[in-house]
């Protein structure tokens, strides 16, 4: 009883925090937890009352069961390769003194901010059966469609995520440890094996789980590259758009969500606890030891090869946008750009509006969320922390379908409005805003806030006069991340678009699937220009104050 009273008292003592807390909670309850619950309810409802008939039906349908195993298989192999590439990239750019590091980082950032299925589209154009390189230059047709093509594409698409995590981890490994090992007589291979690798293993696990969650949830690349290799994401899509069977789609989503949820839990409560980042004290002034020539140039060659492929990917998008007929006639034409204007311009305008809205909302909510969770010792903050990070683990198409199921009927009817798309994006990008907020909060010494409180300021005043001004850069970072993600997202919004509220990314995917590569490339190029432009403008305006992608 006394605990309850204490809790209530704690809430009443600080109305600002309590108010924010309630708003955040309510928001996540309605726009995140309710759609998830709706998925479970929809899948567990039979013709008469609750039943598991849809699940038994799923088990009886071989195609669907196959797609589940295919998804797991693809996630496993892509995660292994993407994490390996990400690790090598991160190791090379943080701990090896090789030329061209800035270029390699730029390449990774480009990959991070572009449409998630750019690689799929350009791989068909470059390395497909009639690809510019495989067929045009090398003269040998290469079979890109299938699981192996998808594997390569997913590796290239998601290794930057692993890279980001690994850079953070590798940077935090104190070079002094390496010096110590060397002084004790260890060679460079020995140091790598016994010092660097063990220290980075938790980071590797963390990166791998992040990649796995993203591969499982990806929709665009399998749709373009997989051929007859069906995965859960494409099958769930097919259930809805082809069969109109929302319940079976919900079943597929729930079955996929189970492993993802386990991975998320493992990442959040097990792997991240094992990170050795916190053990390091003050940063050392020691320079990273020079690595051997062989290691240096091997890694340089590796990074160059990967970067070359990525450069080719974007070159093919640019070329494809203006080449008359890809694979046949490469003469210049502005036709593709003209073709996409009627539908493309309003769609891009919609995307900009949605991205601005959800960018601001994510940045504000993210910073407030981080402040409450990390600075206020309110009871129940762990729950808020959990539900603010969980959307990152929910596959996009799952939340898209969940939104249709929940906001299609009263009390809250939102389907076919702009709100449903904006809210969906806010929820899905909240974890990025939240992470940016946490990063910002941790850089502000708590003693400044304590000083403010000691001088008599309440929570609201402290928030306004101390926290907000100091967190401007965190706010900016959260905004940019969410903006970019919203501009390029496809897997959730593909279920929410209407003639009135159409978006460029589903249009591009449709064009690419239709075989209209030139037009797809043209609209991709427009979208990519806007996103890169935003990033460049942000750099010019804010300079180094906003830390983006921490590289």
């Amino acid at each position: 009883m006394s605990v309850v009273i204490k809790t209530v008292r704690a809430y009443l003592k600080d109305p600002t925090t309590t108010g924010l807390y309630l708003i955040l909670f309510l928001f996540m309850l309605v726009f995140f937890l309710w759609p998830l619950l709706a998925m479970v309810l929809a899948s567990a409802e039979g013709p008469s009352g609750p039943s598991l008939s849809y699940y038994t039906d799923f088990l009886a349908r071989k195609l669907l069961v196959n797609s589940f195993w295919n998804s797991l298989m693809m996630a496993t192999i892509s995660t292994a390769s993407a994490t390996a590439v990400g690790f090598l990239f991160a190791y090379a750019t943080t701990r090896v003194d090789m030329p061209g590091k800035r270029f390699f980082r730029g390449v990774v950032i480009l990959q991070l901010i572009s449409l998630p299925f750019t690689v799929g589209l350009s791989f068909v154009m470059l390395f497909g059966r009639r690809g510019l390189i495989t067929y045009g230059l090398l003269g040998r047709p290469f079979e890109i469609y299938g699981w192996h093509g998808l594997w390569v594409v997913q590796t290239l698409t998601f290794f930057p995520l692993a890279y980001l995590v690994m850079v953070g981890v590798l940077k935090s490994i104190d070079p002094a440890l390496e010096y110590a090992a060397r002084n004790l007589g260890a060679g460079s291979a020995h140091v790598f094996r016994d010092v660097v690798l063990p220290l980075s293993i938790p980071g590797v696990a963390s990166a791998a789980l992040l990649v796995a969650m993203n591969v499982l949830g990806d929709f665009g690349n399998p749709a373009l590259i997989a051929g007859d290799f069906s995965v859960i994401a494409t099958e769930a899509y097919m259930q809805i758009v082809g069969w109109g069977d929302f319940r079976m789609a919900a079943v597929l989503c729930n079955i996929l969500f189970l492993p993802v949820f386990v991975l998320f839990f493992a990442q959040k409560y097990w792997v991240s606890r094992k990170l050795y980042v916190t053990v390091t004290g003050a940063p050392t002034q020691l320079e990273i030891k020079k690595s051997g020539k062989l290691v240096k140039w091997t890694l340089f060659g590796f990074c160059s090869a990967i970067s070359l492929v990525i450069v080719l990917i974007y070159a093919s998008i640019g070329l494809g946008a203006f080449a008359k007929t890809w694979g046949v006639d490469y003469s210049f034409t502005p036709q593709h750009l003209q073709d996409v204007t009627f539908q493309g311009i309003p769609a891009v305008r919609n995307a900009l509006i949605f991205s601005l809205c959800s960018g601001f909302a994510c940045a504000i909510l993210g910073v407030l969320d981080a402040y409450i969770v990390f600075r206020k010792r309110m009871p129940g903050r762990q729950i808020l922390d959990f539900i603010s990070t969980l959307p990152a683990a929910v596959p996009g198409f799952l939340l898209g379908i969940g939104y249709i199921l929940s906001f299609n009927t009263p009390p809250l009817v939102l389907t076919a409005t702009a709100y449903i798309i904006i809210l969906n994006n806010i929820v899905r990008d909240l974890p990025t805003g939240y992470q940016a907020g946490i990063a910002g909060i941790q850089q502000v010494d708590v003693s400044i806030e304590e000083a403010s409180t000691n001088l008599g300021a309440g929570t609201f005043q402290t928030l306004r006069n101390i926290v907000v001004p100091l967190l401007k850069s965190a706010f900016g970072a959260g905004f940019i991340y969410a903006f970019i993600k919203c501009m390029t997202t496809v897997s959730a919004v593909i279920f929410l678009i209407t003639p009135e509220w159409n978006l460029p990314s589903p249009i591009i995917l449709g064009l690419a699937g239709h075989g209209y590569w030139g037009q797809a490339a043209a609209l991709s190029a427009i979208l990519l220009t806007i996103v890169v432009g935003t990033l460049v403008i942000c750099r010019l305006v804010a300079g180094r104050r906003i830390q983006l992608f921490e590289v």
């Binding site: 109305p15 600002t16 108010g19 708003i23 349908r61 071989k62 195609l63 196959n66 497909g128 059966r129 009639r130 067929y135 469609y145 749709a223 051929g227 007859d228 097919m238 809805i240 758009v241 082809g242 069969w243 109109g244 007929t325 890809w326 694979g327 046949v328 006639d329 073709d339 009627f342 539908q343 309003p346 249709i404 009927t409 809250l412 009817v413 939102l414 389907t415 076919a416 409005t417 709100y419 008599g456 300021a457 309440g458 929570t459 609201f460 005043q461 678009i497 209407t498 003639p499 009135e500 159409n502 249009i507 449709g510 064009l511 699937g513 239709h514 075989g515 209209y516 590569w517 037009q519």
Partner: protein, 380 residues
């Protein structure tokens, strides 16, 4: 002295506390007011959203007492299975002529009928433009379409329309083989002449088709085979064909595009989609199978309880007219159901094709059964 200091301290302290309490109270008041404002904004936004999204179901346009119907205004929401750029051209022409703002969403025919069904409680689209009429027939059976007698429809042969005026046919098409002659020559394969030829093992991995769960084209192909050979023999054929098919595309015209680009040797698609590739300058040949082939009537229908029925009716009247018919045929090479629409260079008149006696009604009635059976075939 010591006590004095402590008393002074105490006074100071209490003053401090008072100030603190005052400030806290101010902050609380401020916060509360801000929270209330935020709450009001949120509630208003959500309420507004709910209100606006509920509008479509309200019958705002139908006022039976008015003798002269008001001039329809936009926006009109078009769901269409035609090609992206064709829809764009048609919609902008309609908007220009009538002043009705027009927006569209492209999806394959099977996807559209699933979508219209899913949205039936609160329809978002106004009309379904294009796609084989077996989908329109399906939607009619499920009660998803609006019955409407278009005055322009009398200018077209009644056999191309639904007898109850739920949908109208505005173009015709026949299934053919899209063959990349260059690729066949390099592979040293013979041209397929008939449905039977497609089962030839040399074509393994060289045939691309479309997915009947999404594509109206694929639905027509499947129904054609099942009608040509009968249910059991038809499935035997489709199973054997499946071994040669590389993969199934979501969109019915995509196989023609892929074959045009030279990725595959043979694609199954509607003749007009193949003709478009040929006119586009690709080394492709259109072959109609010897046994006879299935055909479609491209349908146009109004969605029941759509947001803008007045504009939808205006669109149907306009689309069935000569001017729109000519525009559509010119950009798409599809044969119009109107006799007075001239065929552009490259289009194939249907009289020159050996057509089988294809029954779209049977296809519509049996489609869900066909899809279930097909999933088993694909799963192996």
């Amino acid at each position: 002295m010591e006590s004095l200091i402590s008393v002074g301290d105490a006074i100071h302290r209490s003053e401090d506390t008072n100030v603190k309490i005052l400030r806290e109270a101010k902050a609380v008041a401020k916060t509360t007011s801000i929270l209330i404002v935020v709450a009001i904004v949120v509630v208003a936004a959500l309420g507004g959203a709910a209100y606006y999204s509920s509008i479509p179901t309200a019958p705002t346009v139908t006022t039976p007492t008015v003798t002269k119907p008001p001039k329809p205004t936009g926006p009109l929401m078009v769901y269409s299975a035609l090609h992206e750029f064709e829809i764009g051209r048609i919609c902008s022409a309609f908007a220009e002529e009538t002043g009705i703002e027009t927006k569209f969403l492209r999806a394959s025919a099977g996807e559209l009928s699933a979508r219209v069904e899913a949205e039936s409680k609160k329809p978002i689209g106004d009309v379904v433009l294009g796609g084989p009429c077996l989908n329109h027939e399906n939607m009619k059976t499920k009660g998803l379409l609006l019955q409407y007698k278009s005055p322009t429809a009398t200018e077209i042969d009644a056999k191309f329309h639904d007898k109850d005026n739920y949908w109208y046919g505005f173009y015709l098409g026949a299934i053919g083989f899209c063959v990349n002659t260059g690729r066949l020559t390099t592979l040293k394969f013979a041209e397929p002449k008939s449905w039977k030829d497609l089962l030839n093992q040399t074509y393994k991995g060289e045939i691309v088709s479309s997915n009947p769960a999404t594509s109206g084209t694929a639905q027509t192909i499947f129904a054609t085979m099942l009608q040509l050979y009968g249910w059991d023999a038809g499935w035997e054929y489709l199973k054997a064909l499946h071994k040669n098919v590389h993969h199934y595309e979501r969109a019915g015209a995509a196989p023609a595009q892929r074959v045009g680009a030279g990725e595959f040797a043979i694609g199954l698609a509607f003749g007009h989609d193949i003709q478009k590739i040929i006119v586009g300058g690709y080394p492709v040949k259109l072959i109609f199978p010897e046994e006879g082939t299935g055909s479609e009537i491209g349908g146009l229908a109004i969605i029941k309880d759509g947001p803008n029925p007045a504009a939808a009716k205006a669109f149907v009247d306009w689309m069935l007219g000569k001017k729109a018919g000519q525009l559509h045929t010119d950009i798409s090479l599809r044969v119009s159901t109107r006799k007075d629409v001239a065929l552009p260079l490259g289009a194939v008149p249907l009289e020159k094709i050996k057509l089988m006696n294809y029954d779209y009604k049977w296809a519509a009635d049996n489609m869900s059964r066909i899809l279930k059976e097909w999933e088993k075939v694909v799963a192996g």
